[in-house]
Symmetry: C2
Subunit: 248 residues, 2 copies
């Protein structure tokens, strides 16, 4: 078995956005699906981990993509893991055309959390086996790492009460759902005509059903194409920090 996996998809009808390309929601969730299936193939997937009361939790996600595949187009997601730290592991993704060229790439950081204590497991102390065997050191894809996301004069632009359809199998608000909530607050015409090129998200805290989520935003003074966001609970706790960059 190769240390990476390729999963084949096609942009089916009703998975596109208004511009006719696979929607960010579908693309993002497909990446998470591939992460989970790749982990499962190597014995550290959801089913393996939940037996020991652990779940993988997404901590950082950067997606940087020239263009998303269009309606009807086949594409594949390649995913692999390149590093293992004490509390985190780096997983990468490439979105590939059938000829092997890349639409774009993504990088993510995950922690393995104890569902009872909420503490991260020490990944260097996991049982020997396939996890360490599949690391592909030095294979970070060619995208910039997450940049600074400090907001000056943030504005509250929307609230959303987390509900049933927002939840994943763990009862948390789905990681990609936050991306949709923020995309919905960008200028819809600019999103449609220019398109979003890069999405950076830091996941800080989990949200649950009935949580009131506040969506705060601010311009990035250093980059007019980049918009900063925070999603906060009414207590002020930050759930998500993010940046969305429109195509130039």
């Amino acid at each position: 078995m190769t240390p990476y996996s390729d999963f084949d998809y096609r942009v089916e009808p009703f998975t596109e956005d208004v511009a006719g390309r696979i929607s960010w929601g579908n693309l993002g969730n497909i990446m998470l699906r591939c992460a989970s299936m790749h982990a499962g193939l190597h014995g550290f997937g959801y089913e393996d981990m939940i037996k020991g009361h652990h779940v993988w939790v997404l901590s950082r996600l950067v997606i940087d993509i020239d263009e998303r595949p269009r309606s009807g187009e086949p594409f594949s997601i390649r995913t692999w893991v390149d590093k293992l730290y004490r509390q985190f592991t780096d997983r990468h993704f490439s979105v590939l055309r059938p000829d092997g060229s890349a639409y774009g790439h993504a990088s993510s950081i995950w922690a393995l959390i104890d569902t009872e204590t909420r503490l991260p497991a020490d990944l260097t102390q996991l049982p020997e086996g396939s996890f360490a065997d599949i690391l592909m050191p030095g294979t970070t894809p060619p995208i910039a790492p997450m940049a600074r996301m400090r907001m000056k004069e943030p504005q509250l632009v929307a609230t959303h009460k987390a509900a049933y359809c927002d939840l994943d199998i763990n009862g948390h608000v789905n990681s990609i759902r936050y991306i949709e909530l923020m995309l919905n607050r960008l200028d819809a015409d600019a999103v449609r005509s220019l398109g979003v090129r890069r999405i950076e998200v830091a996941y800080c805290l989990e949200a649950y059903c009935h949580d009131e989520l506040q969506i705060w935003t601010a311009a990035d003074e250093a980059n007019p194409a980049r918009t900063l966001f925070e999603i906060r609970k009414t207590t002020g706790e930050v759930v998500v920090k993010a940046a969305f960059t429109l195509r130039a």
Copy 2:
């Protein structure tokens, strides 16, 4: 080619709801995808119709399902058309296990709308060919037709401003997105523990980006497991009428 099509899927990670079964949003959109792919196989799909400035518009949808497939389970969607009226056509779906038994079924009614005049095409006057050839008369699946949805004393329970991620390729709010907006207004604990068994939706009017949608609800006095909904624009125009029935 058979007059019906079977499309194979598997419940991949991150497509489930909190109960570990394929989410209603994913299941509903997969049905629409299969409808579109089946139509495309027979020469009356999106690409064929848009050339003549027509699009298929969903008018009614009833989904009645014993249980939804669980995480990891393979399933297939069978879809076919049984009747063609002047302005409408009846399309059905079965959600099948690998052994051919049914998780449940769905029935839908579609019109073919002129994108410029917004008027429905006369389906009996379409060019000769595969459409009439694939009708399967008398094959309505064994589910009750849409029942009465008259609300007494409706309550306004939420508003939602339609935004980028709600839109389909035609720029309309996605048909299944309305179902999610209403599911989110049911009691989340009941939805999780009992589960929704039947969803009935009448699509009356299209909504667009930036439309303020009001979600109104009322109990069904004849059936305590059934909750009625309307989604209205601020003008009072009804966009969607619907009913959701919890498992007994």
